[in-house]
């Protein structure tokens, strides 16, 4: 299986601090890869480096066989890598419909944006996206009046609307109720019919719901990789991450 996204020996340095130390990973076509790890493990930094937000000190990022290391964010986005941030990054002053419209592929130039028409195809595409994120009935509502969870879905919708081959989601369920979390899991599973998905997550139940393959990061390095069962039974992982969480729960 050819990897859609390939990260080789990636190192990111922030004023002397090595946030990522030679991380390597592959993401296959329509695969869901979940990245877990304690705070400060470098999970978000990894996504930042892939999309060109954080400068890569050494190592390479390949997308569909082409090197994209240190390209600028809008170039990476145009190539087909969609990114969702940790906090909902949506346009509160616009409607859900307008948010998705902005994200649609193909109207990124200045002239195109002035002359573009709201075609049938675009409307259908937006409806398709809204159905996926379960917000079809909220199309013309200003985003500012949505709940936190719904805003997260709007942003997932914005990412899907770009028709990316690969979607990077940074803690999509942060701040969600358990019902919303479960629904998000279902959204991600449906997404994987069309896109590869990389998810950063803390919630182990959620990880079990969606994960095909898990990568554990710890202090900027890859600690383990494998299925849910493999990772859960990995002694190093239990020691640095899962175990501690268990102890935390026990203590609480």
């Amino acid at each position: 299986m050819d990897a859609v996204l390939s990260v080789k020996d990636l190192t990111v340095v922030f004023s002397g601090f090595r946030a990522l130390k030679g991380v390597t990973l592959d993401v296959g076509d329509r695969e869901v890869v979940t990245i877990i790890g304690p705070n400060g493990a470098g999970k978000s930094t990894l996504l930042d480096a892939i999309v060109g937000k954080s400068p890569v000190a050494s190592g390479h990022v390949y997308y569909q066989g082409h090197e994209i290391t240190n390209k600028s964010p809008h170039e990476v986005a145009r190539l087909g890598i969609g990114r969702k941030f940790q906090n909902p990054n949506v346009y509160n002053e616009l409607t859900v419909f307008e948010n998705i419209l902005l994200a649609l592929k193909g109207t990124h130039g200045i002239l195109a944006s002035i002359t573009s028409k709201l075609t049938r195809a675009k409307k259908d595409k937006i409806a398709w996206v809204l159905e996926r994120i379960g917000l079809l009935d909220k199309a013309f509502v200003k985003v500012s009046s949505l709940s936190h969870g719904q805003k997260q879905w709007v942003e997932i919708g914005m990412v899907i609307a770009q028709d990316p081959s690969i979607v990077l989601l940074d803690e999509p369920t942060a701040g969600m109720t358990s019902d919303e979390t479960h629904l998000t899991g279902e959204i991600i599973k449906t997404m994987s019919q069309d896109h590869s998905v990389v998810v950063i997550e803390h919630d182990m139940d959620f990880v079990k719901q969606i994960a095909q393959r898990i990568i554990v990061l710890h202090q900027g390095e890859k600690l383990a990789e494998g299925s849910v069962a493999e990772v859960q039974n990995n002694s190093k992982v239990v020691e640095v991450y899962l175990g501690r969480e268990k102890i935390d729960i026990a203590a609480a």
Partner: protein, 394 residues
């Protein structure tokens, strides 16, 4: 599934608004016959200031770039036109009976500088009126926006540009006429016909109308959506694949070109141009028109420029300190009307680009009316918005 979104369309230009605008345009068209020569000239000037305010609204109201340099773009266009009119003053009309403008004679120039000479020709002067401010803005914009300078730093740079150019123009007396600027220019003549004040008024009215209509059209396209998104969160939109810098440079340059044309039309009317319009004080006035009129409303800044100009005209007769009145008005607007004068007129405000086709329900209209007529509620909402905005800043 799809029929749910079938009704969606770009909200067409509201018919009522269109008719109102047509009537207003007609009134303005016949206005010179109803008011005196003085008012005709004053309104001509205020319409140009209105166009200037609209150009700033495109970059500040929509895109969030606060600029104090719009007076500079206006004045650069103005100087291009002023050189043209000055150079076309016949030698008999010139104080010194020579082809060289008077201020150059005073300052010992014996020959027309090569970079000013071509402005004697109308097409070149017209091109310069648009291109000098536009290219200048493009260069500044390229450096500012490509280097990702943002927020208040852009504003500081625009202040610096305004101050630097004022100093430059004052110091280069031989070329610019110094503090006095270029005065006693010729009357604008096209194809051998002298353009009268009333003709000039109509030209200006049509220009301002085109600027308003063009800006409305532009901001109602996807471009408007993108500009507003840049304003709210520019990082996010770049991850959607938009090159934010190029959009900013585009609107910035376009805005400067509009300002330049307004400045160019200002000179045949005003009969002089001087560094006063380069200075920060004038740039600030443009900012005030937009703030009082309502950011991102286009109509608002135009109306504010017209109204404040009239207020100033009458206040000046009463007191030298008319600026105090404008200052108090500004305070009131900033404190109580965060959306400016247009915040009082919710229907005309092009708040949403896209609307569902069914008309707003009766409940919605009622709520809007309540908003309108219950001042207490309005005040409460203002305070609420104020608090929320304060919180977001932290």
């Amino acid at each position: 599934m799809t029929q749910v979104l079938d009704g969606v369309q770009r909200s067409t230009f509201p018919v009522k608004l269109f008719i109102t605008a047509g009537i207003v345009f007609l009134i303005f068209f016949i206005l010179p016959f109803l008011v005196g020569v003085f008012q005709t000239a004053l309104i001509s000037k205020l319409l140009l200031f209105g166009a200037l305010a609209i150009s700033l609204d495109l970059v500040w109201g929509f895109t969030g770039i606060l600029s104090f340099a719009h007076g500079v773009f206006f004045t650069l266009g103005g100087y291009a036109m002023a050189y043209y009119l000055k150079l076309n003053l016949s030698s008999t009309n010139n104080n010194y009976g020579v082809e060289l403008p008077d201020f150059m004679v005073w300052n010992g120039l014996e020959q027309l500088p090569w970079f000013i000479a071509p402005l004697k020709f109308f097409p070149i002067a017209i091109l310069a009126m648009v291109l000098v401010p536009a290219v200048f803005a493009y260069i500044i914009g390229w450096f500012i926006f490509r280097s990702k300078v943002s927020g208040v730093y852009i504003t500081i740079i625009t202040l610096a540009i305004s101050s630097a150019l004022t100093t430059l123009f004052i110091s280069q007396q031989a070329y610019t006429g110094g503090t006095n600027g270029i005065t006693d220019v010729a009357v604008l003549t096209l194809l051998g016909i002298e353009i009268t004040d009333i003709n000039l008024y109509w030209v200006i009215l049509i220009f301002t109308t085109l600027v308003l209509a063009g800006s409305l059209w532009l901001t109602r396209s996807n471009l408007g959506l993108i500009l507003r998104s840049i304003n709210e969160n520019e990082r996010r939109i770049s991850y959607l694949g938009y090159d934010v810098a190029s959009f900013k440079i585009f609107i910035w340059t376009l805005s400067a070109a509009i300002a330049g044309i307004a400045g160019g039309l200002f000179v045949p009317l005003n009969r002089f141009i001087s560094p006063v319009y380069l200075a920060v004080a004038f740039g600030t006035q443009v900012v005030i028109w937009v703030a009082i009129g309502g950011r991102g409303t286009l109509f608002g800044p135009l109306i504010a420029a017209l109204l404040l100009g009239q207020v100033q005209n009458y206040a000046e007769r009463v007191t030298q300190d008319w600026q105090l009145i404008v200052g108090i008005l500004l305070l009131v607007v900033v404190l109580f009307l965060p959306k400016g004068l247009m915040g009082l007129v919710p229907r005309i405000n092009p708040d949403r680009l896209l609307m569902p086709s069914p008309n707003p329900s009766a409940g919605y209209v009622q709520a809007r009316l309540l908003d309108w007529f219950t001042p207490l509620q309005g005040a409460f909402r203002t305070v609420q918005e104020w608090l929320i905005r304060g919180k977001r800043r932290h």
